[in-house]
Structure formats: C-alpha cells, structure tokens
C-alpha cells in the first residue's frame, strides 16, 4: 500500500479500540445508495521504478529547444543552491505559518522577502505573494477601486501595451464586480502608450491608470509622464513591472518622483523555472497609506513575551479566514515556496548580480535585434528603447515559420503578435536573456535567413 504504514495487527488493534468490526463500518453514515463502485477508469497503481520510467519517457518527448521566446515567462540562470534549499522538507512540506512559534523559518524568510521586494521597487510595503503576475494585476485593480477614495468610478484605464493575457485574466476576475477596463491605444511608431490619446480622459473620473514597464513589446514606457498624469487626474497608478528590470531601470516608487500607488507583476524571473507556466508567483507592493487595502498574507516583526524578536502573520483582519465575506480578497493558499526560492535567488545574486543579469539580457536582445534585422525582409517595428524583448516584422506569415523552426531546428523563434495585434502585420516578439550566447543568436539568424530567403 503506497504511503500507508499500517500492518494488519495495527488495523485489528485500532478497530478494537474504536469498537468497529471493519474499516467499512466507519463509512456507515454515508447513505448506501450514494456509494460509488470501483473507479474503473483509473489505471492500476505503479511503483516508483515504473513511474520513473514513464516520466523519463514523457520528459524525453518534450526535449530542450533553444529558447528565444519570452512574452511573460523568461529563461534565466538559477543558482543550484536556490532549489536545493527550497526543497528541503522543512520549507517544502510545511503549511501556512498559522502557528508562528513553529514557523519562524518561513516567517522570517517572508519578512526578508517583503524587505527585498519593497526595496527593489522602492515602495513602502510588500505582501507575501499572490498567484501570478496576471492575477496580481486583477487584485491590484480591485484594490485600486477600494483604495481610491477620491473616485466613485469603477473604470480603469488599461493600455493596450499591457500583456494581452494579463488584460484578459483581469477582465475575467473583475467583471463580476462591474469593474470596466478601458483600452488606451499605443503610438504605432514608438510602441509606447500614446500620451496624446490619454488626454481625452483628463478631468474625468477613473479609479486608476495601469502602467507597464517594460510593456508587452519590451518597450520602455514614458513612466514619469504617465505617473504624473494619473496623479493630476486623481487616479491611482498601478505599475505592472518585470522585477528583474527594476534592478536596472528606474524603480516604480521613483517614477515622477512621487512614485506609483501600487506595483505588481510576475515574480518568475527571480529564480523560478519556466516549467510550463507555473507555479510562479505574483508580487505586490504599495504605499503605506494603502496597506490595509492590500490582498494576501503580510508578515510583521514583533516581540515575544520575553522581548525577543519574532515574526508573525499580521493585519489578518483583511483576510478571508477572519473577515469572511468582507475580506479584501478570497486568497488563502498563495505561492510560499516560490517566494522562498525568490528570496534565496535575490540573496545569491545581490544588487550587482541582478543588475548584471538584467544588463546582459538587454545586451543580448540588442545583439539579437541587430543580427535579425540584417536579414533581408526582417525589420524592427518600434523605434523606442527596449529592456530584453523586441518586436520584429517579417514579410510572410509568422505562424508557419515558428512551426518550422520548432519542428525542424528545435528553436523557439518567439511569440506571434498576429492574433492580438493584427495591425502590426507579421510581427514577432523575440527575447534573448543572459543565458543566450552569440553563437545561439547566430544559429537562429542563419536558420531564419535560410527559411525566408531561399
């Protein structure tokens, strides 16, 4: 019996203590007509050797293609120590730290995490995680509607340069509360949110403006202007950022000097592997004044009854297990283990390591852009500066090229923008992080050239 330790003798003794004749007797309160028979469609069990063989076969089917694909999930170097320590049983198999005295390891780590994230974003406070970047943006929108006391609006200005899937997740989560997302167009030359288009909304009542950095095209937005504009128009500002980029670029808490109200995003670039899209973790930081509107767990430092420093869950009066229907969010289980990995990752890289990873990613993407646009028929689409992704356009349909590169050359060529941004033509979003080499880029370029020019 996998994972069940009972011997026949144990069972006999336990049943005797209970006063039951059989284990079956213990289910006598379940009405007989509801009982199910054998679960025929579940296959027979496997031992560890058998499941190992199966999973190795399955893994081998997937292979390890050369990756120039980003679009919200990025391949970065993760130090060996990160997951070695994260998967220690004491972190891996513990639960939410409800018993603080027996969870000081997790709690202190989360406090350290909050400090690192708040500092990376230059914000006052951080929570202890949300599910992922997209759902974090949805929570930030809900929070902004609660927190903006100067506004009665349930409308949010949402640039089209925000990751399309983030916009659709946010829509799915907030629409049931009658919150409306208003599209803001981008400048087709720069790929930045169009400040002149924004002017038409000035003086009207909106709860918040969302500001991506970098945006979905990899392009750097005019974050100072956008932040200032939101404040002038009594809107809260919600930044949605790549956390690695914040080690190199001006952090959200310093935009327009006054800083944004809320910053959120996807934590995956901080030590979490690609792993088919999850588990990742969402992060959220805000100004002190909004802390009581923040969703998710928050850890505080306090003292014990001998005056010694300790850590505990705090501001729990915001949460579902206390406030039930009046909670700031329904979130309970969040992404603790991923935050454990991110905290160790940030500690190992330090300020210099993160900055260099960001800078090398930027450099490699510049190199990729230069090399690919040398190919006949390949052009850069936008003129603005980028972080570690850029948009190129081809003369032919992108989808079949992506398929061919994957199938015949084991290269993930990038993300097709044709479906979400048809106005950009045959556009492809490409990415080269610090893990790509000049040789990798050359390999990609040579194959692409051959495919489109022969």
């Amino acid at each position: 019996m996998p994972f069940i330790p009972h011997t026949e003798r144990d069972v006999e003794q336990m049943l005797a203590a209970i006063g039951a004749d059989s284990i079956e007797d213990l289910f006598d309160e379940i009405p007989q007509h509801l009982r199910c028979g054998e679960l025929e469609k579940i296959p027979a069990g496997m031992n560890e050797m058998e499941i190992t063989r199966l999973m190795r076969e399955r893994a081998a089917q997937d292979g390890t293609p050369l990756c120039f694909l980003g679009a919200g999930a990025y391949e970065h170097h993760i130090p060996a120590a990160v997951w070695e320590i994260t998967t220690r049983g004491e972190f891996y198999s513990a639960y939410t730290p409800y018993q603080a005295e027996a969870s000081q390891g997790t709690l202190q780590l989360l406090y350290e995490y909050q400090t690192m994230m708040a500092s990376l974003m230059t914000m006052d406070v951080s929570n202890a995680s949300l599910y992922d970047g997209a759902s974090a943006l949805a929570e930030a929108v809900l929070m902004a509607v609660r927190a903006n006391r100067q506004s009665k609006s349930r409308k949010i200005l949402m640039p089209r340069t925000v990751n399309p899937v983030y916009r659709s997740v946010t829509e799915a989560i907030v629409k049931n509360q009658a919150i409306e997302l208003i599209d803001v167009p981008f400048d087709p030359l720069t790929g930045q949110t169009d400040l002149s288009a924004l002017a038409q909304y000035a003086g009207e009542d909106y709860a918040a403006l969302v500001i991506p950095q970098p945006n979905f095209f990899g392009v750097l937005e005019q974050v100072d202007e956008l932040t200032a504009w939101a404040a002038e128009n009594k809107m809260l500002s919600i930044a949605v950022v790549n956390p690695l980029a914040m080690s190199l670029l001006k952090p959200a808490g310093e935009w327009a000097d006054l800083g944004v109200d809320i910053v959120c995003g996807e934590g995956q670039p901080l030590g979490v592997p690609l792993a088919s899209g999850g588990p990742y973790f969402g992060f959220m930081c805000c100004k002190q004044v909004h802390v009581r509107q923040m969703p998710g767990r928050i850890i505080g430092r306090t003292i014990d009854l001998e005056g010694k420093q300790g850590f505990t869950l705090t501001l729990q009066a915001r949460e579902q297990h206390i406030r039930r229907s009046k909670a700031t969010s329904n979130i309970c289980t969040n992404q603790g283990l991923l935050v454990t990995a991110a905290t160790i990752h940030m500690s190992l890289l330090g300020p210099e390591g993160l900055r260099r990873a960001a800078l090398n990613s930027h450099q490699n993407t510049q190199l990729l852009k230069q090399r690919l646009t040398k190919i006949n028929g390949v052009k850069a689409v936008f003129s603005s500066a980028v972080f570690h992704e850029c948009v190129i356009s081809l003369e032919a349909d992108v989808a079949p090229l992506i398929d061919q590169l994957a199938k015949n050359h084991h290269i993930l060529a990038g993300f097709s923008l044709q479906e979400n941004y048809p106005e950009l033509g045959n556009a492809l979003l490409v990415c080269a992080t610090e893990t790509r080499t000049e040789q990798d880029i050359e390999t990609y370029a040579v194959v692409l050239d051959k495919l489109i020019n022969s």
């Binding site: 420093q309 993160l354 610090e434």
Partner: protein, 486 residues
C-alpha cells in the same frame, strides 16, 4: 539575525555573477536606476547557511506530526518532486508549441480524466491556481449559467455557517450577496432553515461534505433537491475530499460544480503557504463555462484549447495554464496510488481519525459530536477546561509544540467554542498517533494541576508566544538599515 545583517558592501556570491558589461547607449540615462536596492551582499556559503538554519526553525511534515484539521498534511512523496523536476519539464516554456510538450500534455490530459473519474463530474479544467481560485471559478460559472438564461434575479449564494472563510469571500468576489445557513444540533445542515432561505433569489449553495465539523451530512440528497428545486446550483468545496476518495463522488451526490485542493488530497507540498492547485469539475450543464485553457486530445496529439474553442468560457484565471508543476506532482501521485490506492486513502484516513477520536475521548477530552462517526477529521471542544481551569484551546495548541507535535487547527469552525480540529491523515503510523494521545493526556493533566504554566507555553521553541497586537499596532513589515539590529 536577518540576512541583511550578514551583508557587507562589495561582497558577492561571485560564481553567480554574469559578465561585467559597460552601460550601453541603447538605454537612455533618464530610464536608469540610480539607487542601489537593499539586497544582501553576501557570499554563497553565507546564503546557504542562513537559509538552511532558517529552515530548521520550521515544523513540517518531513519532521513532525502535523494534524492540522482541514489541511490534509499527508506525506509528500519525494518521487513526485524529483520526477516533476526533470530538466525537460522545468525548462519547458509555457508558450512553446505543443510539439515540444506532448509528454507534459499527455500527463495533464490523463490527470483531467482521472479527476473526472474520482469526482463523478463530466468535465474538468486544471487551470485554477489554488482552492480559493477554484471557488471563484466555480461561482463565476454558476453566475454565467444563470446569466445565459437571463435568470438575473438570482443574487444570493447560501453558505453554511461552518464553511471555510474562502467560500463567502469567493461568492462576494463574483458579485453575490452571502446568506448564512445555520447548522443543526447533530452537525448536519439545518434543512428547515435551508428550505426557508431558498427562493427565486438563490443562485446556489456552497457546501463541504464531509463538512468542516468532521461529519458527513447524511441529508445531502435532500439539500441537493431543495436547492435544485428552487432553481439554484450546488457547489462542492473539495477541501475534505480525502475523506471520501473512492467511496462517494460529489457528482453522484448531486453537485453541479466542484473544486479540488490537489495540495491536500493529491499530496502536493504545501510549501509554507502554497503553491496549491484548485482544478474545477462540472456537471453537463456547466461544461461550456469552464475556465481555459484545457487539454484535449486531437487524434494522436494533445493540444491546449482556449477561448476560440470554448466561446462561453468564464475566461482565464492565470497567465498560462495554472500551476503546472503542482499538477505534475499530483499526476505522479495519482499514478502511484492507482485504482485501489484511491479508496485506501479514505479507508486509512478515516481509520486514523476515528481511532484518535475514541482514544482522546477515553483519556478525558470532549468531542463536539460524540455520537457521530469521525470522517477524516474531528473536533474536540475544550469548553469544560476553559471553564474549570481557565485553559483554552490555544493554550493546549501551544503546549503541543513543546512536545514536538504541530498543533491542530484552532478556533475553526467558529461555531464550536474552544475547538481543536484534528486531521491525522492516512500516512501516519499507529505509534505516532499513540505518542500524540499520550501527550494530549499529559497536557490535560497539566491543565488540571498547573493551568498557569500552560498559558505561557510554548517554552522550547525558537520564540515564546508572540505579541500579535504589537505586530498590528506598530506595523513593521519591511526592515530598514537605519535602525540597530534587534
């Protein structure tokens, strides 16, 4: 000591640094960061030692008996982690072509099919990231269903008073009002009160069965009929699925939609507070509304299906396909259990709970429902001890920590005074349970003879009882390097 207090300017984990490159002209100076973030500057060994030591301050399943009620803290098989961490799986980009994902997608498709079979539902979506997100998806589907029929007067979700806090919170996130239904004397839902509460405004009811009171609601069929006849739908909170795996299926009980907590029933790690996975299953009529993406089989290949294939979907809950790595671990676990293993989980979880209950009653504890069978968990009430010795459930919980046992869930469900909700799970051996019983007997004796001592427990942990009030009033959630280290 905090990691920041180990930091020295100019020190680094040098093996982790990428090449030094000059600042390129391609980034405008105005866009750049000028301040250095407060991240530790430490060596690799310092990091490893600091976090290894921190881990040692935790209780966990791997180190302790962890009978936290409603959380199903069972053994997390190591094979699940090792195999889900094969480099092809961890390296797979979520937007990569399905061609480079046939192995992964095959696992996901088979998991969907297995979850359909164990729940008796007609279709399953794996995408919700945790139980609460599964609840949100479930209630959103109920709303989409009523909306599609222009049945828009249904504005209320019924929730028993014993429900998890996530239930009412999820209903509100979907724009519903919440009405509480009381529990009857014997622990079952008060059917008469339910009959009075339902009507044309009822969108549905959210139920856990067995409930958080540790008993199986015997009148589940009447509840289902009452709500269905009023035009409402039934939501099943799968938090307690461990109790009934392979015994009775939510689909057969009449539920329209359910979520499962794979981090409970399917033994994926709790990770110090996540990640979880909260797949949802539905009856025929809710199928069109399932969240995307889902996995389908087209001929010989597996593909992700999305909004284009499911135009009535409630949409996406996360950027990609949910907590894929958690789902992989659950798949591996389910494959190892197999057909016979499923009902064995319920068998031994229930055996352990009933044994613990009977023996704890024998040493002098009071059960909240002494005449009922325990399911996979049960409730003790310390009302008597509180009254006679001024010793609370919290005191007993804290004292257990001194004896190297994690505490049960305390003060939940809210309607039982001074309660401990105890869930041993099937993976604990009899001698562990016996050790726990002996300790509980000792603590009961301590309560009688030295209650004041219990009020100060724990004594042997890294910290003593913490000042939660100070933590709220003098909010300190971010360390700053201006202050002296404590």
């Amino acid at each position: 000591m905090l990691i920041f207090e180990h930091s020295h300017e100019g020190r680094a984990s040098n093996a982790q640094l990428s090449a030094e490159v000059p600042m390129p002209a391609s980034l405008p100076a105005s866009a750049l960061r000028t301040s250095k973030p407060l991240l530790p500057e430490v060596s690799e060994m310092q990091v490893v030692r600091h976090f290894t030591r921190l881990s040692q301050k935790n209780f966990s399943i791997d180190t302790h008996f962890y009978p936290l009620g409603s959380c199903t803290m069972k053994y997390n098989p190591r094979a699940c982690n090792t195999l889900a961490s094969l480099p092809e799986f961890t390296g797979r980009h979520p937007l990569g072509p399905s061609l480079h994902g046939q192995g992964f997608l095959a696992c996901m498709f088979e998991l969907q099919e297995m979850l359909k079979e164990v729940t008796g539902m007609k279709a399953v979506s794996l995408s919700p990231a945790a139980g609460a997100q599964g609840e949100f998806a479930g209630v959103a589907m109920i709303k989409a269903y009523h909306d599609s029929r222009n049945d828009t007067a249904r504005c209320e979700i019924l929730v028993p008073d014993a429900a998890h806090g996530t239930n009412p919170a999820s209903a509100v996130m979907c724009g519903y009002k919440v009405r509480e239904i009381p529990t009857g004397k014997n622990g079952d839902v008060d059917l008469e009160a339910l009959k009075k509460a339902v009507g044309p405004h009822t969108a549905g009811i959210m139920l856990t069965n067995p409930s958080t009171l540790g008993v199986f609601d015997r009148k589940i069929k009447d509840i289902a009929d009452t709500v269905h006849q009023a035009g409402g739908l039934l939501y099943y909170d799968g938090a307690n699925l461990n109790a009934i795996l392979g015994k009775v299926r939510p689909g057969d009980m009449g539920f329209d939609v359910i979520h499962m907590n794979l981090h409970k029933t399917f033994s994926t790690p709790h990770g110090g507070g996540g990640p979880g996975a909260g797949p949802v299953g539905v009856s025929e009529r809710l199928k069109p509304y399932l969240p995307v993406p889902m996995i389908a089989q087209k001929g010989e290949t597996y593909v992700l299906i999305d909004e284009q294939d499911c135009p009535q979907t409630i949409g996406r809950m996360s950027a990609f396909a949910g907590n894929a790595g958690v789902l992989l671990r659950a798949y591996i676990y389910a494959k190892m259990l197999g057909r016979e293993g499923m009902s064995r989980v319920a068998d031994y979880a229930t055996l352990n709970a009933n044994y613990l209950l009977k023996r704890l009653m024998a040493v002098g504890y009071q059960a909240a429902y002494p005449d009922r069978r325990a399911t996979h968990e049960f409730i003790l009430t310390l009302k008597k001890q509180a009254k006679e010795h001024n010793v609370t459930a919290m005191d007993v919980a804290k004292r257990l920590l001194d004896y190297d046992f994690h505490a049960p869930t305390t003060y939940f469900p809210l309607l039982i005074a001074e309660c401990l909700l105890i869930e041993p799970t099937e993976t604990e051996a009899k001698e562990t349970l016996d050790g726990f019983i002996d300790t509980m007997a000792i603590i009961l004796e301590e309560a009688k003879t030295d209650g004041a001592m219990l009020k100060q427990a724990p004594y042997k942990l890294p910290v003593r009882r913490l000042d939660d009030v100070k933590a709220v009033k003098q909010l300190d959630v971010v360390w700053t390097n201006k202050e002296e280290s404590a």
